[in-house]
Subunit: 162 residues, 2 copies
């Protein structure tokens, strides 16, 4: 078992792309959505480290072992009138849970949000993921109970566009 004292949070670089893709797949399996993962190494390289990056990644290491990651981007709040930080994915590999790694990643993201003058730091959670919900509430985050996400994709998206 790793020692919490040895946990490091670092910004991902281009050579971490295979590791990031592997952890995205691990996360999808945990969320019962493996069939939805169509990301590739080349695609991730372009969107994370290409000419116009769309998102950023933090990696957590326990000693020299990759233990988790956070992928985030900036959204925008109309009412607040400035950008926010949106955490798209947070994942800690099962064998590294209980070491405070998720909290370390969230702390680093909160610091990034404050440093960049973001009005909000937001993310989504599956409503059956009770351990995550309890964890987020303890950090002071508020669940926006009334909001639901709608999604158009695939053929339905193309049909509306045409």
């Amino acid at each position: 078992m790793s020692d919490i004292a040895s946990v490091r949070i670092v910004r991902a670089t281009e050579r971490d792309v295979p590791l990031i893709l592997q952890m995205i797949r691990d996360l999808a399996e945990y969320e019962r959505m493996s069939d939805q993962v169509v990301a590739t190494e080349n695609g991730l390289r372009e969107v994370l480290f290409g000419a116009r990056p769309q998102a950023e990644v933090l990696l957590a290491y326990a000693g020299d072992r990759p233990a988790g990651f956070a992928l985030f981007f900036h959204n925008f709040s109309t009412f607040v009138g400035r950008r926010g930080l949106y955490l798209e994915d947070l994942f800690v590999r099962p064998e590294f849970r209980g070491l405070g790694i998720g909290r370390r990643l969230l702390t680093e993201l909160a610091r990034t949000a404050v440093d960049r003058n973001c009005g909000r730091f937001e993310w989504s959670v599956l409503d059956w993921n009770e351990p995550a919900i309890g964890f987020y509430r303890k950090l002071g985050a508020e669940m926006m109970k009334e909001w639901r996400i709608f999604r158009l994709t695939g053929d339905a998206l193309k049909q509306l566009a045409s």
Copy 2:
């Protein structure tokens, strides 16, 4: 009453900023969130038309009268591995409802999403807004029933960051 045939959808320009702010306030009133609007004209000018735009706006006109707006930006789906289009706000002024203006705005956004090779077109809705939910479903959009948004803001955000 305006004629649906005279509805035009145009991209907002910098001189539309006062109009956009007024419609953001109208929307906030409808959503019972007027106390949360802290956006200003200068702030909007910077984030929409500054050196590094954070979001884009479409305006709907019925004849020469501004009837509604859509504000959107790009998010990123890890699983899909490419960016999506996220609609932050859609609003049609009450006196212009029932003319198909909301649908025209959504159609233009769907076209934008397809043109820009976005994997998804998403937005959020308040769960008590039954007319909107029924409208979105008729367009082929799917409600992501299991997802809830968490938010850290203000003092709680600063505290986690420190």
